[in-house]
């Protein structure tokens, strides 16, 4: 299996980072970045990562099954993650979640028909100070109001990129 030159370079860095007999440490980061490129964790990818890290396929399977952020099904182009843990919950996170479901007509870990949006109700994303928080792919939105969420979802559904939706402030991480 081949990846883009950027990803290959990244993999090499991961593998070089760990001692020769601990290559298995690279399994998680490799899966995380590879799934962005391959859209999901495929059997082929599992085999490849197992081979490169010197572990069995079953050992990679164990990791994939355990971590909820590793996904075997493709997600939407924009993966909208809404936190409903305690801090966000206290200031309207649950309402944001319900609003998003109603607006998009999809639910937890589901994709929109055109494949642009997918939703996920997530556990704490570490943005408690700026609750309620929403994450789209790797970018954060802080102090999200129902109005902002509407605009964000409308914009994404209409084919805009997050940076083109200027009236909702994105925080890059």
């Amino acid at each position: 299996m081949t990846f883009s030159p950027e990803l290959e370079a990244r993999f090499e860095k991961f593998l070089a980072k760990y001692p020769a007999d601990r290559k298995r440490s690279a399994v998680i980061p490799m899966l995380v970045y590879a799934q962005d490129e391959t859209e999901a964790i495929t059997q082929e990818l599992i085999e490849e990562v197992a081979k490169r890290c010197g572990v069995t396929q079953l050992q990679v399977d164990e990791v994939v099954g355990f971590y909820s952020m590793l996904h075997k099904k493709p997600q939407g182009k924009f993966h909208v993650q809404i936190c409903t843990n305690i801090s966000c919950l206290l200031v309207g996170g649950a309402e944001l979640w319900e609003q998003a479901c109603k607006k998009t007509g999809i639910g937890h870990k589901q994709n929109s028909a055109d494949g642009r949006i997918s939703l996920e109700e997530v556990e704490c994303i570490g943005a408690c100070s700026w609750a309620p928080a929403v994450q789209v792919n790797y970018d954060f939105y802080h102090f999200v109001t129902p109005g902002q969420l509407d605009k964000l979802l409308d914009g994404l559904a209409a084919g805009k990129k997050p940076e083109e939706i200027t009236d909702v402030k994105k925080v890059s991480c």
Partner: protein
Amino acid sequence: MADLVKFTINGQELEAPAGMLLIEAAKQNGIEIPSFCYYEGYSLQAACRMCLVEVERMPKMQVACTLPVSAGMVVRTETDQVNAARKSTLEFLLTNHPLDCPVCDKGGECELQDMVFRYGAGESRYTETKIHVDEQQWSPVVFYDAPRCILCFRCVRACDEGMGVSALGVINRGAMSLIAPNKGDHLECDECGQCIDICPVGALTSGAYRYQTRPWEMEHVGTICTHCSDGCKTTLGVRNDEIVRGNNRDRSGVNGEFLCIKGRYGFDFSEHADRLQSPMIRVNGKLEEVSWSKALETISKKFAEVKAKGGKFGVIGSNQTTNEENYYLQKFARQGLGTNNIDHHRTGDVVTLVDALSGTTGRLAKSVDFYEGKAVLVIGADLAVEHPFLAFQIRANFRHHEAHVYAVTAETVREDLVATRSVRAIRGEELSALEGLREALAAEKDLVIVFGDSIKGDKVRSLVEYGQSLGIPVSYCALVDYSNSRGAIDMGLVPELNPGFHASNVAGATIDELLAANDLAALWVIGSNPLEKAKVAASKAFVVVQDLFLTETAQRADVVLPSASAYEKNGTVTNGCGEVQRLKRASATMGTKTDLEIIGLIAKEMGLAALMGPWLPETVYAEIRKNVKGYDIPLPLVTIGAQQTAPVNGRVGVDSRPDLIRSSHDNLFTSGTLGRYSTVLNSVIEGRQSR
């Protein structure tokens, strides 16, 4: 040993080495702390929360399976708080565990059942629907019932650490966690069944035993596995004279709990539909069933006739019959029939090893040395495949004692995983690679050298010379193939050797010479299949065969006698390390007789009963003790555990005939002729071929 520390459990002042786990320290003082995930000998998991105990000055209850004891520690294991915690843990485990105990194989010997019985988690506050996953068959041997699994991960560790196979894993998380096999929907592994026996509940069950019986309806007979030469003790579960299971949960025998597929499930040959149950005589070219008396009469007449005419006898003994049978057979051949033409299928050069070690004592490795030795050198053998128990010992030694393992083999072997150094060498030329290891080996405290049949004759002498030149204590093990291959040599089923490695004055004919001899008048084969790949040159030879099945050899016979299997007789066998152990009769097959009895009956029919003495295993053993050097071990000692024999400490002085030493190199799923009649072994082979 680490310093002893004083601590208190339940008001009792106790002592244990500092750093010992609390659960172990309690156990060695007779206090049980229950646990599911903790398992002696494997890595710590701390997953089940069953072993919670109160420890003074610690804010919360502690898990005894990961807490080392320290001086002054005050522990309470049976307080109301502890009992309540255990009850809650059980209530939690039962959230999804089905209460199908009445049909579960484990019912009656289930650790979860026992714990619930003890702590009384009879009521549950959980009303949620139990998560159900359908049962899966992973291999002919292994079945998995996910809902019963309590996720203790014993199976995963036993497979990974114990077997070095890593065929099991855990997928998903939380309540959805499942044990998963390495090939998606099926297993590709040693099929040893360790995972099944170690399972505290009925999540993993075996194809052989499932739905066969309730555990309390079995009788348990501890005997020795009849397959390879490692001499594992297997405790057979017998119901209505039928063997339904093999395991060794009581950890008796040299092998502790270890068994491979052969010891655990390979007993099924004894129930095979092709078992011979009646004597047969060749009439008009065809074998016809006759009575025992008719068959014995025919044999004794013919034998007496050949003897009277001074005709040539040939006797081929077995690698699987007992020491008593072997001794009795050679005595009958040598003294009764007056021939030294007695041999067996030779599989390892023990003779040269004993000869090369003359003048030394304690240089033959015991099974336990593979676990306790500081270093092990494996030469020319794929131990994990051919001698799974010795390989298991080595892995455990590496895990527990950081033993140094060296492997000199032609192919990659599983020992490489734990090896300090692995060297590849062409088969037969392994010794040339040893010089490169000299420095490393000489620096070891002691060493066990184990070698396969590529090292024979003068190579054994060179190897012993090399070993003795290292300047450290070295012990040796010459691998042989089957359960009593070693006993066959010790008991003198060799033309050039009388029992006890005594050179015989009159050289008899070897197995190859017998088969090739045109003037052979009578050939008597006991529990062996020499004609699988050869022919008897003497077309007129009168052939008598004692066997379990109509083998290629039995098909050539003039008289076939149905014999009892190793699981159907009493006696002793000697494993590859020279350890004598006791066989105990577990079941019986109608119509068969033990080889000992058959030999005795033939002798009686020939009027030689007085010479031979009674065909009782104990009587013959007493004779062995008197006449075979090294075997002077009281039977009660053999009964309670393996006892290593100490063979002659002097030159053997015969040519070991390396050309006749040919190991069959049976793998995990083959076992000579016997393996062909084991349904479970064959189903694994067929399963693999069909994929």
